[in-house]
Each structure stands twice: as C-alpha cells, then as structure tokens.
Symmetry: C2
Subunit: 173 residues, 2 copies
C-alpha cells in the first residue's frame, strides 16, 4: 500500500509559524483558536495581509517549523508496514525546497530521499491514501483521501477526517 503524506499543516506546523511571526512583528495576539475556519492571513488587518502572505517566501521559514505532535512516531510505524511518501506542493516556493529536504533529514530521517516528492499538482500521484489538509489536493486524488485537521479547514465537509496523528494511527496501524 502506498501512502502520501503532505508536509505543511500535516507534519510541519506552518499555521503556528505564521501566527508566531505575525504576533512578534506586529505585536499581535492571534491564536490558532481565534483563527478557526480561516486562512491566517485573512485574520489580520488588511494592511498586514501582504506581509503574512509573504512569510513563505522568506529564507528560513520552512527550516524552523515545529513538528506536528505524534507525526514522527506514527509515521515511523506506518513506514515499517507500508510504502510511505512525503508529498509537498513546494514548487511554488523555490526557497523552501532545500529547507524542506533538510527538515525531513532532521525530523524524519527514516523516510529516505527516494520517498520524498516536492511537486505542484498532486493528481499525478498514484497511490492508495493521501493525508492532506487541502481539499483541492484530496478532491483530485484517485485513492482514499484523509483530511488532516488544520485551523483553516475545520469547517470543510466532504472528506474523511483525522484530527490528530493518533487518529491516523488508529485508522491505519
């Protein structure tokens, strides 16, 4: 069985990083709880939105992301049982590419380079399961799509959902 796992907001806490940077630079008091159901950049005053939307183009942004709780231990177990691939739509941000590779080396060394994919569209991936936070990726995937809960997608309907890596473990291990 082939399982594809997205990076941002599935194993890497991109949303949390946006909030942290925004609060620091604009003396803000955003929390992920206060952002539920929205993209983070929509939750700040219009004058600050462009700044937030550009976080992902900064050198270092993707290197410093925190790991989503329990993703390491569950993915390590899944990797022993199935063919696990990391599949991140990273090509939009060329600055992210090497940082994502380094980040995986640091936190997910048990997933070798052969099983890492930095791409754009995910509908050309052939496999059984895709774990992703974005509906547009899940929609066009031929296999079983599992939407991983992130603040921005809490109100999205239509997909099987997992709220945590422990839930993924219960479903797939």
């Amino acid at each position: 069985m082939v399982i594809f796992v997205d990076m941002d907001e599935v194993i890497a806490d991109t949303y949390g990083a946006h909030i942290e940077i925004y609060n620091k630079e604009f003396n803000g008091n955003l929390t992920s709880e206060s952002c539920m159901g929205n993209e983070v950049w929509k939750m700040v005053p219009e004058a600050h939105q462009e700044s937030v939307r550009k976080h992902a183009t900064r050198r270092g942004f993707f290197k410093d992301l925190k790991v989503i709780p329990n993703s390491q231990k569950v993915l390590q177990k899944l990797s022993k049982k199935y063919e696990v691939y990391i599949a991140s739509a990273a090509m939009q941000f060329p600055n992210s590419l090497e940082e994502k590779s380094d980040w995986l080396d640091e936190y997910f060394p048990f997933i070798p380079w052969q099983n890492r994919i930095l791409c754009g569209h995910k509908h050309v991936l052939k496999g059984d399961i895709l774990i992703d936070d974005r509906s547009y990726n899940l929609q066009h995937f031929e296999g079983r799509g599992i939407q991983f809960t992130s603040p921005h997608n809490v109100n999205t309907k239509g997909f099987e959902r997992a709220n945590s890596w422990l839930e993924i473990g219960e479903k797939l291990l």
Copy 2:
C-alpha cells in the same frame, strides 16, 4: 494525456557538464563519443572517479547546465497539446533543488510550478508517457516509456527509443 519528462540528460546536458569539468580540472581529453555505453565516472582513472562522482553535489553544478538541443521548442509545442510535467529524481541532491527550479524558470518558463516534480522513485507517477534516460525509471512506469538516448545508455535494449527531441516531436506532435 499526461507526459512526464526527466531533466538530467533529457533536457539538461549533465553528461556534457561532467566531461567539461573533468577535462578542465584534470587536463583530460574525454569526449562524449569516447564514453559511449558507459557512465562518465567509469571512463576516468580510478584515482579521479570519486571527484567525478561528486560533481553533482557541488553548488552551481545544476544551474549551469546546457539545454539539450531542440528540447525547448518541442516541449513548448507539446505543452500546448498535452499536460506536460517535468519529473526529476532530484531529492538525492538537496543542493540541486533550487537550482533546478531556477534553471526551469530560465529555460522552460512555459512549464509552471504546478507541473514540476522533484522526486525519488518515479513509479508513483500516474500518467501516459515517461521520457527518461534511465532504464530503472522506465521499467516501473505504468504507461509508455521512451528512452532518451544519452552516452551512457546507447547499448540498452528493451525500450522504445528517441535519439533527439526532433524524434520526440515526430512521435508525439
């Protein structure tokens, strides 16, 4: 129709770059003609092999590659007719990732980030045609595999072959 196109030795002249660097640094006289049927690192004295094998880990190596003749004009036409994706097994060389993105921006700007894939194994790609120089990529591809001739694969059998981009054009346009 979905077409995947490899980078190294298909649209980017990696083999030529290895020869050029080797000749310059070791005062050599390798030519691609003299290497036919072999990996380039096997064609140099044993004492130099490690150096050649490490070219691909150098910063700048992938940024300066020459474009394979006619690949731009044929791919531009193919892109208008089909869904064309660049698919490069680049994850082995993290230093190559951003350089490959920049190189594509420079020489293949008509292939957008959504259609670029940097990966490891290619057998998780779902599509109709794969144009690649490496047998191990073609072997595990579910669709039609076309082996693009490179000095190292001239004696390889078992795959449909294209010796040039003009031949690809004749086959697919």
